[in-house]
């Protein structure tokens, strides 16, 4: 049984005199991520003076505080009380949204980059997609792509660099796609690369270094400092922890069309509000995922 399923059992430890780190589980799982997000939301709602940053992550929570305003022990007591409240929640749900993200899989941009950094890869011949298919016992790259966009993903953490979402596929553990990272990181990754490392997918928000395998490229921005697109009117970062992502495969023609919309400032992500129910997701992942994805129909 995972820690997160068994009452208030998180591990509390200090990152110097300004950070409290709460490890909810050593292993990645949906319940631990749910708990991290729930604790972050409750703590944020309390608007505690002296807390500067609340950062929910995959299976842990990082809190930055000013010890001159809020002494460490007081903060810890407060967070422990919140952990107990969350642990007592019989029926955890998350008010969130499901977002459709168009992806051009097997695109020339990430292929070109992958070819340049082949020396950093465990399988110098072939492509990242072929390697990923093999690692997961799938017959072909196409089969892997189908699995990748067939089930939705939960944004389990946003960070590393500005606006980068880490995503965890909402399927039973034995069905999760697992692929090791590059043997040594690349110094370059195209912006909007759809990547994968361990059990996590990501979308690189900006161009730069990276170690995740590269499967495709998202067609529209997820970080827009100029805030020129309507989805970024309120904030330059698109994703929030708890978002549910449905990847939709597009071909080059559609990719170009979306790029034109982005250029014209008219592109909007297809999205719908959804209440995500942890128990239903764990009990009947396939059926429940279908229900969530249907929310996108008719938008």
């Amino acid at each position: 049984m995972s820690n997160a399923a068994a009452g208030a059992t998180a591990r509390y430890t200090w990152g110097g005199d300004e950070f409290l780190f709460v490890e909810i589980d050593e292993a990645m799982n949906l319940a631990a991520n749910f708990r991290s997000n729930a604790m972050a939301s409750l703590l944020a709602a309390d608007q505690v003076e002296g807390i500067t940053d609340i950062c929910p992550a995959n299976a842990s929570l990082l809190i930055r505080f000013d010890p001159d305003v809020l002494p460490p022990r007081e903060l810890e007591e407060r967070v422990r009380r919140i952990e107990e409240t969350v642990a007592r929640t019989a029926h955890p749900t998350l008010e969130t949204r499901v977002v459709e993200v168009p992806v051009w899989y097997n695109d020339p941009y990430t292929q070109e980059t992958a070819a340049r950094f082949r020396a950093n890869h465990q399988r110098p011949e072939g492509t990242d997609l072929e390697f990923a298919a093999e690692e997961n016992g799938l017959s072909s790259a196409d089969e892997f792509i189908k699995r990748h966009h067939g089930s939705p993903w939960l944004v389990s953490m946003v960070g590393f660099v500005a606006g980068l979402p880490f995503m965890f596929q909402i399927v039973p553990q034995e069905q999760q796609l697992e692929v090791p990272k590059y043997l040594s990181p690349r110094t370059d990754t195209p912006a909007l690369t759809v990547g994968h490392g361990g059990c996590f997918a990501c979308i690189y928000s900006v161009r730069g270094a990276g170690g995740y395998q590269m499967f495709g490229i998202a067609a529209a921005p997820i970080f827009d400092p100029a805030q020129s697109l309507p989805d970024f009117k309120d904030f330059m970062v698109f994703f929030r922890p708890g978002d549910i992502v449905k990847f939709r495969p597009v071909d080059e023609t559609e990719y170009r069309r979306i790029q034109d919309e982005v250029g014209a400032g008219t592109f909007r992500y297809r999205q719908a509000p959804v209440q995500f129910d942890l128990q239903r997701a764990l009990a009947d992942p396939a059926g429940y995922n279908q229900e969530i994805l249907e929310r996108l129909n008719g938008i």
Partner: protein, 324 residues
């Protein structure tokens, strides 16, 4: 009012005290790496501590002012020249419109700061003027300065009141070749063997050239991790964890080799276990270290970390003459 950048220097950027509240989406605090030196530059020109300054790394810029201005240069020791004539650090320099400011080679340390009366007046983005280069936000167009940039200087409503202040030489930072920084063990320290932790705390580490605003990498002996069956999602190496938030100042040791200390432009999370964190009072010390600096990590507990923080606060109060 503006400074026209004639030569940009190696990595000159606009920084203030930082951007807080956006670490949860991966936007780091940023801000002057050597916070105390930056604060002293502001104080010398009659600003508040909140104004933005120029942070110069290794090689400074050359610029011309289009207006009369009061500046001060603090931080790492460097020759300051106005129209080619030698001037001092740690004091207020009055410039006339058209004056050109340039710098010699650093004589130690890594970063020096240029404060200007009225502050560097770039737009405030998410609560700060600090440059976050990776995300391309803040500072001057989200990047380090280039030749030809016109860097706006704020209007301070007249010259500073009273005679130029002086900074007690005892309060000025030192830029030596050896440094001891205090750390609070914690986070994933239980994942090291007892011998691994001893190696971290008892060795003398050498700062490598791989050191920037994101973090600093040190060379030294190998540090031993406990072997274990890795939890699901954590990656295969014993130094890997399920990706988590990174504390600023935290120390990670990927693969047991070359510890990395994250600094003010930290990546906000990742999959390497952190085993200790540099206390807030000593973060400036790291920022002053040049490659080759012999560094020791001395363990303290939370009470000692808070006492050191209070000492820093008292020092700053003394600096601004506001009493402790």
């Amino acid at each position: 009012m503006a400074f026209e950048i004639l030569e940009p220097g190696l990595a000159t950027s606009v920084q203030d005290r930082g951007r807080f509240g956006y670490y949860n989406v991966g936007i780091p605090q940023g801000g002057a790496m050597d916070g105390l030196s930056a604060e002293m530059a502001n104080m010398l020109v009659g600003n508040t501590a909140a104004e933005a300054v120029l942070e110069c790394t290794y090689m400074g810029p050359k610029f011309r002012t289009d207006t009369d201005a009061a500046i001060a240069v603090t931080g790492a020791p460097v020759d300051v020249k106005v129209n080619g004539e030698a001037r001092g650090q740690w004091e207020r320099l009055e410039l006339a419109a058209g004056d050109e400011v340039s710098f010699g080679i650093l004589q130690g340390g890594t970063r020096f700061y240029i404060g200007v009366r009225g502050g560097i007046d770039v737009p405030v983005v998410l609560g700060s003027r600090s440059t976050y280069g990776l995300g391309g936000i803040g500072g001057f167009e989200g990047r380090s300065l280039r030749a030809g940039d016109l860097v706006p200087v704020g209007d301070a409503a007249g010259p500073p009141a009273g005679p130029p202040p002086e900074i007690d030489p005892d309060l000025r930072p030192r830029f030596g070749k050896e440094v001891t920084v205090r750390v609070l063990p914690g986070l994933y320290d239980h994942r090291l063997t007892a011998r691994g932790m001893e190696t971290l705390l008892d060795s003398t580490w050498t700062l490598t050239p791989v050191a920037d605003r994101t973090g600093l990498r040190y060379s030294g002996p190998e540090v031993e991790w406990q072997p274990r069956q890795q939890p699901f999602g954590a990656g295969s190496d014993p130094s890997n964890i399920v990706d988590a938030g990174y504390a600023v100042g935290s120390i990670q040791i990927p693969g047991g080799k070359e510890p990395i200390v994250l600094h003010r432009d930290a990546v906000s999370g990742g999959g390497y276990a952190m085993v200790a964190t540099v206390i807030s009072a000593d973060m400036d010390l790291l920022a002053r270290s040049a490659p080759g600096t012999k560094t020791r990590f001395r363990p303290v507990d939370m009470d000692e970390a808070l006492a050191a923080r209070a000492e820093q606060r008292a020092l700053r109060a003394r600096l601004w003459g506001t009493g402790a």
